[in-house]
């Protein structure tokens, strides 16, 4: 069980000593059950930090945002920033380091182990509680969550209300950290890895298309999936309407010549293209934090789409994103033994 007091104390001492600029962690939200990401620069505010199964967000995103912000603010504070990272978050940080997005020394990773469980799926929990509003969720040993409602606390087997990705998680312990809280539990995947994808793959192709067409049709193009993804850190996205990355020497032609691969219209063809481009760009980079799926206001099963190629990466190319910051990336490397029989 994670000692949250020790976590707070560690964060506090980092800030007191001035060895980090800020600590990115979780605190309680006013908007609902799920925790909210908090960037804390004041040592006294570290008391707000929490770590419980409501801490769903992948905080690696805020390292990316922090970098963008710092470019803008031209701050010369060279101290690292600390970040609380679950297993999946730490994998995301590793991928970012692998892609040289920031140097290793610029981040202090406070690893937190999900131990035997993971984080909650708010939708599953709401169903489980059948209308009752959960006020808090806490770890209760390595197999259960303790859930408080107006009627008091109850213990529920974690597997019943855990996020799908946590059920399939292969490494709930941070792969990279400067300080770790919680026990490393190796045996924990409650479902077989890629179970959901494999199940979907069994469908007839026409049914699969019918399924995805239905999903794509209701996409709002709010881009929450892109915005929440730590890997979607491009200056300019294929769906952006205009040239984003503009330098003083960017010519008018370059601005005018922006390729419109995807129209802004929320038509099926364009939405499909958007999600497929994202999926292909995430190949070998997606750490299955499933934030894209969680944030989607219309419940598009994006995790299913994005883990399809992760399954290939893992099973065909023996590539596990976020496991080695020094390895070449999936698509900028190859092996002589890569599949060839699909080629005529």
């Amino acid at each position: 069980m994670i000692d949250v007091a020790a976590l707070k104390a560690h964060a506090k001492s980092l800030l007191e000593k001035g060895s980090v600029r800020a600590v990115i962690g979780y605190r309680k939200s006013t908007a609902g059950l799920l925790a909210e990401p908090a960037t804390i620069a004041d040592a006294d505010a570290t008391d707000d930090l929490i770590f419980d199964p409501t801490c769903v967000q992948n905080l690696a995103l805020y390292l990316v945002n922090d970098k963008k912000e710092r470019v803008h603010s031209r701050s010369d504070d060279k101290r690292p920033i600390a970040v609380v990272a679950k297993g999946c978050d730490s994998r995301a940080i590793t991928v970012l380091l692998q892609e040289k997005h920031f140097p290793r020394e610029s981040v202090h990773v406070i690893g937190v182990s999900c131990e035997g469980t993971g984080v909650v799926d708010a939708r599953k929990l709401a169903k489980k509680l059948d209308g009752k509003k959960a006020l808090s969720v806490n770890f209760d040993g390595s197999e259960a969550f303790s859930i408080t409602t107006e009627d008091g606390a109850q213990s529920i087997p974690a597997a019943e209300v855990m996020a799908e990705r946590c059920l399939e998680c292969r490494s709930a312990h941070p792969t990279l950290s400067d300080m770790t809280f919680g026990e490393a539990k190796s045996e924990r995947a409650l479902h077989a890895p890629f179970q959901a994808v494999k199940h979907k793959m069994k469908d007839e192709q026409d049914n699969r298309w019918a399924f995805w067409a239905r999903q794509f049709d209701r996409c709002l193009r709010c881009y929450a999936c892109r915005s929440v993804c730590p890997m979607c850190y491009c200056e300019e996205c294929v769906v952006d309407s205009i040239n984003f990355a503009v330098l003083p020497d960017t010519t008018a032609d370059e601005k005018a010549d922006r390729i419109k691969w995807i129209e802004r219209s929320p038509a099926r063809s364009e939405t499909a293209m958007y999600h497929m481009v994202r999926a292909i760009h995430l190949a070998g980079r997606c750490v299955d934090c499933a934030e894209c799926e969680r944030v989607c206001p219309v419940n598009i099963p994006l995790r299913l789409l994005n883990t399809r190629l992760e399954m290939e990466a893992f099973e065909t190319f023996e590539y596990n994103p976020g496991s080695d910051m020094n390895a070449p990336t999936l698509t900028s490397s190859f092996r002589d033994t890569d599949p060839n029989s699909f080629i005529r």
């Binding site: 892609e99 040289k100 997005h101 850190y233 491009c234 200056e235 300019e236 294929v238 990355a245 503009v246 330098l247 960017t250 032609d253 370059e254 005018a256 010549d257 390729i259 691969w261 760009h281 070449p328 990336t329 698509t331 900028s332 490397s333």
Partner: protein, 652 residues
């Protein structure tokens, strides 16, 4: 985006016009946005066609041109020259739409072919309208050449290059020049003595002031590009100062270590300190570190003790020599197919089963038997000798699929030489076919059969074993259809040729390709047979494919002349159609750096963003496809251009 495009549609006589409605193509292309001139003409590549084009460019102030004609491999150069010379427009503003090979010639239905030609031409228009003017990149060249391999190919190439006034660094792995050829006794079809013709060339190498010879040396690393390679060579320590060595043989006499002599194909022995053979170049003894007792006067030190001139120095250390060269010739030669692979012929098991090179040594005056053919087991003169051709060649199931090309000839030579040495002996040759193409070759084979009464048996040998001091050869004569058994005194196998052991490593270091059999790959099997796929690296000799001496010498001279032509200019022109980074989009993720086949991209500057070395980049676009941020593009085939071409080819 250009605004004044011209389109020229070629009839190619009837070659295109028969299946494509060229007039319609010209008319419809004239209506495409930005096209202000469109015309069809019977032969665009003819003189009048070219002047039509040149005038149209000037008269209409065209800023981009599409020629819809045959494959760009044929006339892209022509039309770009017309664009530049006659039209006074940057040649990179001209693109070719291939409506002949890829359209008119492969379809019959005229309306359909015309539709396709329209799409192909429109795609080219869309592309050219976003072409930039480019200027080839001039790169100064280093007028120095490295030749890798000191066999006959390397020797010939080095001499040709040196005689043309170029500096040459000749790198040889073993202690002497000469390669496989120096081990041969006589050469077919003229039977002149191999040493007699090669030794003078070896001496010439050693005397030529333009040639720097590095023996016992291997290429370790190559960087750079055509005109400007940087090669690191590792030279072993030989522990003998060649300047001082008098070749007196005192050292060798006292050396207590005896090992097999690889120059006699292991038929004799040598000491740890030795000279490979009397005519070796460089003419010096050398101390073989691996067999020496310890390079230490405390352990042995006998050779240093007896050397009057004090040439022996145990403290020598390997050297790394860095050479800047403009071009590289690879002539790493061949090895015989591993004996261990041919168990069915008893190779390696019986002393009296020899390979071709061993037989050469037996015939050679400088060989282990002083030029007498004696069988190794008991030094008796063999009276029945069986020669087996295609040992390992032309056997796709279990050995090499290819024909080793020279075995038919050298087996005929071996049989002939044997008969000359042992006139009362009988030579048998098992063969599949006899391939004797070449000047005087067929006559030579016929002579061996008729004059020297060599018995040719068509068929495969199934088994060779020893019985009562004889080598029993069992086979079948497919002409008579009978099983044959010969009780031979000696068996000689014409083993397949394969690229020498170091070839794979050299190819990897030089980043040049190899074919399925491991031989070095030429850039084009017919038109560029001595060039590797990497610019500035040339191939010579049997490392590229099995070949005999005259062919090897030809290729060596050809490679040399290619290098001479290449280095005759002070600057090399590199294609400017290379990758360009959009710094605004680059995040420095290094994926392009990892994927670039040429190591042409590195992270530089503030924020460590990708930067392309203009000269190393070959413009393949691998970087473009791995970049997730569209931050890198190949000039004149950018993603925007491909996007527009996709639209055009789908009629969007």
């Amino acid at each position: 985006m250009t605004k004044r495009t011209g389109v020229f549609v070629c009839h190619c006589g009837n070659n295109i016009a028969a299946t494509v409605d060229v007039a319609r193509v010209a008319k419809e292309m004239g209506e495409v946005e930005g096209v202000i001139f469109s015309k069809d003409y019977v032969y665009m590549c003819s003189d009048p066609g070219q002047s039509t084009m040149a005038n149209a460019i000037k008269d209409n102030k065209l800023d981009s041109v599409v020629v819809s004609c045959c494959s760009p491999t044929l006339h892209e150069k022509t039309f770009r020259e017309v664009t530049e010379d006659g039209g006074e427009l940057n040649p990179y503003r001209c693109e070719i739409a291939n409506i002949r090979e890829q359209c008119a010639w492969v379809h019959k239905d005229k309306p359909k072919a015309t539709e396709k030609a329209l799409k192909i031409t429109k795609a080219a228009i869309k592309r050219v309208q976003n072409n930039q003017s480019l200027t080839p990149i001039g790169v100064p060249v280093t007028k120095k050449v490295m030749v890798i391999g000191g066999g006959v190919a390397g020797i010939q190439a080095a001499l040709d290059l040196a005689n043309a006034g170029l500096q040459v660094v000749l790198v040889e792995k073993s202690p002497t020049l000469g390669g496989n050829m120096i081990k041969l006794s006589e050469t077919f079809p003229t039977l002149d003595c191999s040493q007699c013709i090669l030794s003078p060339k070896m001496v010439e190498v050693s005397k030529n002031k333009n040639i720097k010879l590095l023996t016992q040396a291997e290429v370790q690393d190559v960087s750079g590009f055509v005109g400007n390679f940087k090669v690191k060579v590792r030279q072993k320590a030989i522990f003998v100062d060649p300047e001082l060595c008098k070749i007196c043989d005192d050292c060798s006499k006292v050396c207590p270590t005896v090992v097999k002599n690889e120059y006699d194909e292991n038929l004799t022995a040598r000491r740890a300190i030795f000279i490979p053979f009397a005519q070796a170049i460089p003419a010096t003894y050398t101390l073989d570190e691996s067999s020496c007792l310890g390079l230490n006067p405390v352990v042995c030190g006998k050779c240093a003790d007896v050397c009057e001139v004090g040439a022996i120095n145990y403290d020598m250390r390997p050297k790394i020599i860095t050479e800047d060269v403009g071009a590289i010739v690879v002539a790493t030669g061949f090895d015989l197919y591993g004996k261990e692979n041919l168990g069915e012929y008893g190779m390696g098991k019986y002393d009296n089963v020899l390979d071709g090179l061993q037989f050469e040594r037996l015939c050679s005056a400088s060989g282990p038997t002083g030029g007498h053919v004696l069988r190794p087991s008991d030094h008796k003169e063999p009276k029945n000798v069986v020669f087996i051709q295609c040992a390992g060649s032309r056997d796709p199931e279990s050995h090499c699929a290819y024909c080793s090309k020279i075995c038919c000839m050298y087996t005929a030579k071996h049989a002939t030489l044997y008969k000359h040495h042992v006139p009362d002996g009988q030579a048998y040759v098992f063969y599949i076919d006899i391939r004797s193409g070449g000047k005087g070759y067929e006559e030579f084979v016929q002579r061996s059969m008729e004059r020297d009464e060599v018995m040719y048996l068509r068929g495969r040998v199934s088994k060779v074993y020893e019985q009562d001091g004889k080598m029993v050869v069992k086979g079948v004569d497919t002409i008579s259809g009978k099983n044959v058994q010969i009780d031979a005194d000696m068996v000689v196998l014409a083993l397949a040729m394969q690229p020498s052991k170091g070839t794979a490593d050299v190819a990897k270091t030089l980043k040049i390709g190899r074919d399925k059999d491991g031989f070095l790959a030429e850039a084009h099997p017919k038109l560029r047979p001595v060039e590797s796929v990497t610019a500035g690296i040339f191939l010579a000799g049997a490392a590229q494919a099995p070949k005999d001496i005259p062919e090897t010498v030809c290729q060596a001279s050809a490679a040399a002349s290619k290098v001479i032509a290449l280095l005759s200019k002070d600057e090399l022109m590199h294609s400017p159609a290379i990758a360009k980074v959009r710094l605004s989009h680059c995040t420095g993720c290094e994926m392009c750096v990892q994927a670039c086949p040429y190591g042409a991209i590195s992270l530089t500057g503030p924020g460590a963003k990708a930067s392309v070395n203009d000269v190393l980049c070959e413009g393949c676009g691998t970087c473009q496809a791995v970049c997730l941020r569209a931050a890198i593009d190949v000039k004149n085939i950018t993603q925007l251009q491909i996007h527009d071409m996709i639209n055009a080819s789908l009629g969007v």
